[in-house]
């Protein structure tokens, strides 16, 4: 880790192919700033991305990175962090990636509480496959695959995280650059699974959950008397369907991450030239 890292060091020389105005630009910038601000550099950072417009983030960032298969980014991040706890691990993907195909992994990653950060770019639509409804789409949101709306309740990812005993649950809005960066930064600094759901509008396919909508709807928790260490207060905010909150909603100050509980503190890449010294003990057990 070096102290003179700038956030632009996390930028790759690949020009993003996101549509002009896509919320993912702001989401990514905030992630890069948060990494740099917390003293990380590209060589000690591992970014795992899912599939979707959002998943392209690994290509536009510069670090050790893996762009995996649809919905499975979290388990990859868990493997990386287990094997080398010195690495800063950040996982990112879309709402479809994380809450639909990957919903199972999401819940388990939350309760496993590995010390890493998960940033979801929630545009309430499937962008890359060109505009079908997503698990966070509104009940009446019309798309090619939901001409009269999906007619099913949207997933509340924050509620899922709270139910799974999430230790850090936050939400931000990609165009509020400063707050978004701060919130991701807090997630990185959190000892445990730092989860941030980011409103990251899709300007091409979603004309309901737009920048204007979020700008009007969002209430910043910093401007309320919300106490993020109060689980009941967090639950009330999370279950409040009428308001879009921004900020750290819940933080367990006592969180002990999985890697610490399981004593994962060595870099597993280091192995001896041959079998471990006392490996014959393993054979002896079978006498």
């Amino acid at each position: 880790m070096s102290s003179d890292v700038r956030f632009t060091d996390f930028k790759s020389d690949k020009q993003p192919t996101w549509c002009p105005g896509c919320g993912d630009f702001g989401t990514m910038n905030g992630m890069m700033k948060a990494l740099a601000n917390t003293g990380n550099d590209p060589d000690n950072t591992f970014v795992v991305a899912g599939i979707g417009c959002s998943g392209k983030i690994g290509t536009y960032m510069h670090s050790y990175a893996l762009h995996g298969v649809h919905g499975r980014a979290l388990p990859v991040g868990i493997g990386v962090k287990s094997a080398n706890p010195d690495l800063e691990v950040m996982v990112s993907g879309g709402d479809g990636d994380g809450y639909s195909i990957g919903a199972g992994h999401f819940v388990h990653a939350v309760r496993r509480n590995m010390d890493m950060t998960y940033v979801v770019m929630d545009n309430r639509i499937y962008g890359l496959t060109k505009g079908q409804f997503s698990p966070t789409s509104r009940e009446d949101f019309e798309t090619a695959t939901s001409p009269e709306g999906p007619k099913q309740a949207p997933v509340n990812p924050l509620a899922l995280a709270l139910a799974a005993d999430g230790s850090f649950i936050a939400q931000s809005f990609s165009s509020d650059a400063q707050r978004h960066t701060e919130i991701v930064q807090e997630a990185v600094e959190h000892d445990g699974f730092g989860f941030v759901n980011v409103y990251s509008p899709c300007v091409t396919f979603n004309d309901v959950d737009t920048y204007d909508y979020f700008r009007d709807a969002i209430v910043d928790l910093d401007e309320t008397d919300h106490d993020s260490s109060d689980r009941d207060a967090a639950e009330a905010k999370i279950m409040d369907d009428d308001t879009e909150y921004q900020g750290v909603i819940y933080r367990d100050e006592e969180s002990v991450p999985y890697n610490e509980r399981h004593g994962l503190d060595e870099n597993m890449a280091e192995i001896p030239d041959g079998a471990p010294e006392d490996a014959t003990d393993l054979v002896r057990e079978f006498y």
Binding site: L66, K81, P276
Partner: protein, 588 residues
């Protein structure tokens, strides 16, 4: 009486059949006898017929046979299930005081020994020890010194306290004495030999786990599934001793992705599952290959398709392992043929994975996985383990792998197909990789030339490996014989013994056991030199036979078994004889 002793205990699942069988097997092994065990088990926890069989000899034993000398029958069904294997003079030990066995009469010619197992167990301190009473009785029948049981009991019950161990020893002795004092035991005259040899007794799953630790595996993630679970249970607690970690994942998709993540972080990493899990892993398998991540994926096959017969033997996954996954995926498929080979091939699998930065399927089958066998401990020689981490580049060498803009090239199209590899944390080595087609930097591309270059590069690894590694077979029997028998996986043991039976009938065979499914040895010459070629495998369609025919453009004969039970040596000899007779009878 032959020195060969075939013993079994059978009853309902939940009766402690497995642990009792294992205690007896260990006692025999510790007394310097070779042991080969097999299990009949149903896919349920309580109820359902279960048996644990032990074949033992002073000579090495490689398979099961159709013969049972001593049977401890906790239920009537146990006798019915094993009727074919019982013979004149077989001894059946049962509890005549138990309601379900009180009307039992040993079949004609066999010796029934009613031992009040439960009552004697209670005398020794608890009804739970009834199986141990039966073991004591069996020792007397076999004329096997009961002291040999003591250490095995200590091993099994030691952590429950000395008094439990003492009670169990007492229970065994009560069983022994009952046979001596109360029963006429002139009818049987087993007198099994013991030796001074020290053997180890283990199964294929355990050998895979031990091989993984020896090879420097540090991360294992898996989701429980029969018959692969033993690998995870073996590793849990042991891998941690060596600085590693076993993670029980939420499903197989997570398991393989976690293992992939750990491997990218630099750990030698493995996951194990059975067919249904391999199906789920297929998508990520392609990612492992295109991202050029070294990973060992172990498939312990069971009977399919779908949930099939989870506790039964089959070798039905070969096609999937060779061809599974969308698109074209370079891979290695290594299939150990014996329990000790499970150890050696696991080590080899880790080296292959890292040298070629490619996924390796390590293939076991249920018969191999759950069968325990004795070996000289030297067969698991830890000193000869070699670790080859391949083209791992550190900070000092990194300069030669950077492009003009100082970017590291993880997918550099080297002539041998193998690029340099940096582990996260290596300064100057940061790079991305993806399942999308990518350029040498790991960046997505659809450029035609780059696509071709990267596909060729990945496939080139297989060609390089084909030249550099030894993809050999194991040979047995008479190398000049006109009849050539081929098999893969656990059939080796039964086939090796079948050679002996065939020899007695004056039939010479050359037997090749093939441990590499891809790449694999070129068998054209061997096949051309033979008059008859027979491929033996546990599946219905002959997947390996198809492969051999395709490789050598020669028709082969097939011996297939897919009733869920492994081949037995005598059965195999018979089926080979039939195949050969049928050939000769063809009218001219």
């Amino acid at each position: 009486m032959p020195d060969d002793l075939n013993w079994a205990i059978g009853g309902e699942a939940g009766d402690g059949i497995n642990s009792t069988g294992k205690i007896f097997a260990q006692a025999l092994s510790r007394a310097g006898r070779h042991v080969f065990t097999s299990k009949d088990f149903a896919s349920r926890i309580r109820g359902g017929y279960t048996a644990y069989k032990v074949r033992s000899s002073t000579e090495r034993v490689e398979s099961v046979v159709d013969r049972l000398d001593i049977l401890i029958a906790l239920t009537q069904r146990t006798v019915e299930e094993n009727m074919d294997e019982l013979h004149e003079g077989s001894v059946i030990i049962y509890d005549g005081e138990r309601t379900m066995m009180e009307d039992f009469e040993a079949p004609e010619g066999m010796i029934g020994l009613p031992v009040p197992l439960k009552r004697l167990a209670e005398d020794a301190g608890g009804a739970l020890m009834q199986n141990i009473v039966a073991l004591g009785a069996a020792c007397e029948v076999a004329n096997f010194p009961i002291e040999n049981l003591d250490e095995a009991l200590e091993k099994r019950f030691g952590d429950k306290g000395e008094s439990i161990v003492a009670n169990n020893r007492q229970a065994a002795r009560l069983g022994e004495e009952h046979v001596v004092e109360e029963l006429d035991h002139d009818g049987f005259d087993y007198d099994i030999e013991t030796t001074d040899n020290d053997y180890v007794l283990l199964n294929g799953d355990e050998a895979i786990g031990m091989g993984a630790i020896a090879a420097g595996c540090r991360f294992y993630s898996g989701y429980p599934i029969t018959p692969a679970t033993d690998v995870m249970e073996y590793l849990k607690g042991r891998l941690e001793r060596y600085g590693g970690h076993v993670m029980q994942a939420e499903d197989e998709l997570a398991a393989i992705n976690m293992a992939l993540g750990a491997a990218r972080a630099g750990a030698r990493s493995m996951t194990a599952t059975s067919g249904p899990g391999i199906d789920l892993m297929a998508e990520t398998f392609g990612l492992v290959a295109t991202s050029e991540t070294p990973l060992v994926i172990c498939d312990v096959m069971r009977s399919g398709p779908s949930t099939g017969m989870p506790t039964k033997q089959e070798q039905g996954d070969l096609d999937m392992l060779l061809y599974g996954g969308h698109g074209e995926i370079p891979r290695f498929v290594v299939a150990p043929t014996t329990v000790s080979e499970c150890f050696h091939k696991t080590i080899e699998a880790f080296n292959l994975a890292e040298k070629y930065q490619t996924p390796v399927y390590l293939v076991g089958d249920l018969a191999l996985a759950v069968t325990e066998q004795t070996f000289e401990p030297e067969e698991f020689d830890m000193d000869s383990v070699e670790i080859d981490r391949g083209k791992l580049v550190d900070e000092n060498e990194i300069d030669s792998w950077l492009n003009d803009s100082d970017q590291f090239q993880p997918h550099f199209p080297a002539a041998d197909g193998i690029s340099p590899r940096t582990l996260p944390g290596t300064s100057g080595g940061a790079h991305m990789t993806t399942g999308l087609e990518h350029d040498e930097l790991g960046r997505r591309t659809e450029e035609q030339e780059v696509r071709i270059e990267q596909v060729d590069k990945r496939n080139q690894k297989v060609e390089t490996a084909q030249e550099e590694e030894n993809w050999d077979y194991r040979e047995f029997g008479d190398s000049d014989a006109d009849t050539l028998v081929l098999s893969w996986g656990s059939n080796e043991g039964a086939m090796r013994e079948a050679i002996g039976f065939l020899d007695e009938a004056d039939i010479d065979v050359r037997f090749l056991s093939v441990p590499y499914m891809f790449p694999r040895p070129d068998l054209t010459e061997e096949i051309e030199a033979a008059d008859e070629v027979i491929v033996v495998e546990c599946n219905a369609t002959g997947q390996f036979a198809d492969v051999v025919e395709g490789d050598t453009l020669t028709r082969v004969k097939r011996i297939n078994k897919y009733n869920g039970v492994r081949f037995k040596a005598d059965e195999l000899a018979e089926r080979i004889t039939e195949k050969l007779d049928a050939t000769q009878e063809v009218p001219t």
